[in-house]
């Protein structure tokens, strides 16, 4: 349905007064497909380029190279009605719920906007439907439609964000860390709401997150990103049962487990994420990797494929899978 092929995005970064600028490759030759009705989790830590990839797929920023196809057509070539259809069909939910709503606008108006512009409903019609949308996400329109964003809790604002995305009757929603800023008990409410909406509307989600636990719970497929590149992808069940890239393995071992009786696994991950301005040569994970050998410092690893299109970009993927 939505497909990005060999996407690359460079940003120019100014280094300082006299040091000129450098090129930061935020996304490096990434290909991704999202099929109708499925949930793809895009997992990675800060600086991995996952949000940039999401914004390219949304058409909010232009890739440096590569192409995005929607229902088989390059969306750069979409014109008129087809372009409008794409705009309505691919929607987003954001992490920072207070920044994603206009602070001077009542939340009801934020939900009405896509009805007026994407769907071209009349004002009266839009008003009625916006109330229905708020109700669907669990907010009483009589109470909430006339409130300002700062008068709502984070969870309530995220519900408004979902209502606004739904207003366009989308097929795909790119959700960029939609629950990371929320409390544990509210987090589950929003995730549950997103699952219910997906079932009702046959939505596809690109779910961007740093939380493997959430990815495991909601995703059909998982893609793991590190410093701009996909290092591992596959069905969620396969990836979590048999992590095939040392980085995925390290992520699974790093996540704290809410069970005090379990022994802590050894953490063989060293150091911090390097600056994306100067990614290490060869495999970009090698300075932190427990499996790294001489070849990892010089040669970029090829992508190896295992069962069910489970792919890993690691020279020693078999060893990693062996444990």
């Amino acid at each position: 349905m939505l497909e990005g092929t060999q996407l690359t995005k460079d940003f120019r970064v100014r280094l300082g007064l006299f040091r000129g600028s450098a090129t930061l490759r935020a996304v490096d030759d990434v290909s991704i497909t999202i099929d109708a009705g499925e949930t793809v989790a895009l997992v990675g830590e800060s600086g991995s380029g996952k949000s940039t990839l999401g914004r390219i797929l949304l058409g909010l920023i232009l890739q440096t190279s590569g192409a995005v196809h929607y229902r088989g057509t390059d969306f750069a070539r979409l014109q008129g009605d087809a372009a409008r259809q794409f705009r309505a069909d691919v929607q987003a939910v954001f992490q920072d719920t207070s920044a994603s709503l206009n602070p001077r606008r009542r939340v009801g108006e934020s939900v009405i906007a896509p009805l007026l512009f994407n769907r071209r409903l009349s004002a009266a019609h839009a008003r009625i439907e916006s109330a229905q949308l708020l109700e669907r996400v669990g907010l009483d329109p009589k109470i909430f439609a006339s409130r300002f964003p700062h008068q709502l809790s984070g969870g309530q604002r995220q519900r408004v964000g979902l209502a606004r995305a739904l207003a366009s009757q989308p097929r795909v929603i790119v959700a960029d860390e939609p629950v990371s800023a929320l409390d544990v008990s509210v987090r589950a409410q929003i995730l549950k709401l997103m699952q219910d909406l997906q079932a009702q509307e046959k939505l596809a989600y690109l779910f961007i997150t740093h939380d493997l636990g959430i990815a495991r719970l909601i995703a059909n497929r998982v893609m793991v990103m590190y410093l701009g590149a996909i290092v591992e992808e596959g069905n969620a069940a396969d990836v979590f049962a048999r992590p095939s890239h040392p980085y995925t393995l390290a992520l699974t071992l790093s996540a704290p487990i809410p069970d005090p009786t379990r022994a802590r696994p050894p953490r063989h991950l060293i150091g911090d994420i390097p600056s994306p301005l100067a990614p290490p040569p060869g495999c970009r994970f090698h300075p932190r990797c427990a499996f790294a050998q001489a070849i990892c410092k010089t040669d970029a690893p090829p992508v190896r494929e295992f069962e069910n299109a489970h792919r890993s970009a690691c020279h020693f993927a078999e060893q990693v899978r062996g444990g």
Partner: protein, 332 residues
């Protein structure tokens, strides 16, 4: 149980708002033993951070005060100390680290100078340079001499937090208060910082009061836990017991809604409703409006807490413990 070094009793902390003083920490009692790691867990707005600030009597806002209670540290009530006596305790015997290391580091000072600052402030007798170098090394920072000369913007978030911990540990405090120390960090870095804190406890014998919203971090780190909800402690227990047999309905719900890679179920669970506004708290139990087993008594009388170290503030503990009170299909 070992010797108690910090004993907070009936602590009440208020912040000033337009309509007067608002109780954000309401009659909270807890203690920390020597060399113990104690967790204070709860969601945003439950008062866990304000509790920590109350211990140091350093608030992020001027309009806050400890209204009543006692904070006994090493047999002295910190609330009764003169300001200069309190200053001698702060930083030297009790140190604190925070969620966002960047805001607590001076951008114009090298990390080495900032680590050494508490030593100078408390007139460290030995060689400040050597001590600083030891500290940096102890933090697992590569190339200690180079790092000490760096400015905050030149190092990563994980390294900043390590520098802040080094600064906090410089005077060998007996108690380290850590307020969400890893929340702003990536998981792989969080794991390293948690390991570091555990090592420090083993090496120096410092007790740690760990404030977090993350039950996973609690399970990995803490010997004992206090669970806070809407300004009150609702349950206290050893970590093992709390996770094995949570007694308060809120703790039970919180544990069920925690998502992890190892959760047995793949169903999502959410506690229905929202945390009450501190301006309009329920009369009885503050959790009653969201509780599946609340009855008339819960609505009218605040629950009574008998034993402080294994407390549970609930009228219906037997019922809560007897069966699974949270159904999976509750609430969206």
């Amino acid at each position: 149980m070992n010797e108690i070094i910090l004993d907070a009793r009936n602590l009440v902390t208020e912040i000033h708002q337009r309509r007067g003083w608002l109780r954000v920490v309401d009659d909270v009692s807890f203690n920390v033993g020597r060399g113990e790691i104690v967790g204070l867990v709860g969601e945003s707005g439950c008062g866990k951070s304000m509790t920590a600030f109350s211990l140091m009597q350093l608030f992020p806002t001027p309009a806050a005060r400890v209204a009543s209670g006692q904070i006994i540290f090493e047999n002295r009530d910190l609330l009764k100390l003169a300001p200069n006596e309190l200053r001698r305790v702060r930083g030297a015997q009790i140190a604190m680290i925070f969620q966002d290391p960047a805001t607590f580091l001076d951008p114009l000072m090298t990390l080495g100078d900032q680590i050494a600052e508490p030593l100078r402030a408390h007139n460290f007798a030995g060689d400040v340079r050597a001590r600083t170098r030891d500290l940096v090394e102890q933090m697992g920072l590569p190339d200690p001499d180079l790092i000490a000369r760096r400015y905050p913007h030149q190092v990563s978030g994980g390294q900043k937090q390590r520098a802040l911990i080094a600064s906090a540990m410089s005077c060998a405090p007996k108690l380290l208060i850590a307020d969400e120390p890893t929340t702003a960090l990536d998981v792989t870095v969080q794991a390293q910082i948690l390991d570091l804190m555990r090592d420090l406890r083993a090496q120096t014998g410092a007790a740690i009061l760990l404030i977090t919203h993350d039950l996973g971090v609690i399970a990995e780190m803490c010997d004992r836990v206090y669970v806070m909800y809407a300004g009150k402690i609702v349950e206290a227990n050893t970590t093992r017991e709390l996770f094995r047999a949570p007694r308060h309905p809120y703790t039970q719900g919180l544990l069920r809604s925690t998502v992890s890679l190892e959760s047995a179920t793949t169903e999502l669970f959410a506690i229905p409703g929202t945390v009450p506004n501190l301006n309009e708290l329920p009369r009885g139990c503050r959790f009653a409006p969201r509780c599946p087993i609340a009855n008339a008594q819960c609505a009218h009388e605040p629950p009574f807490v008998a034993d402080e170290t294994r407390a549970v503030a609930c009228w219906n503990v037997e019922r809560a413990m007897a069966s699974e009170i949270w159904k999976l299909d509750v609430g969206r």
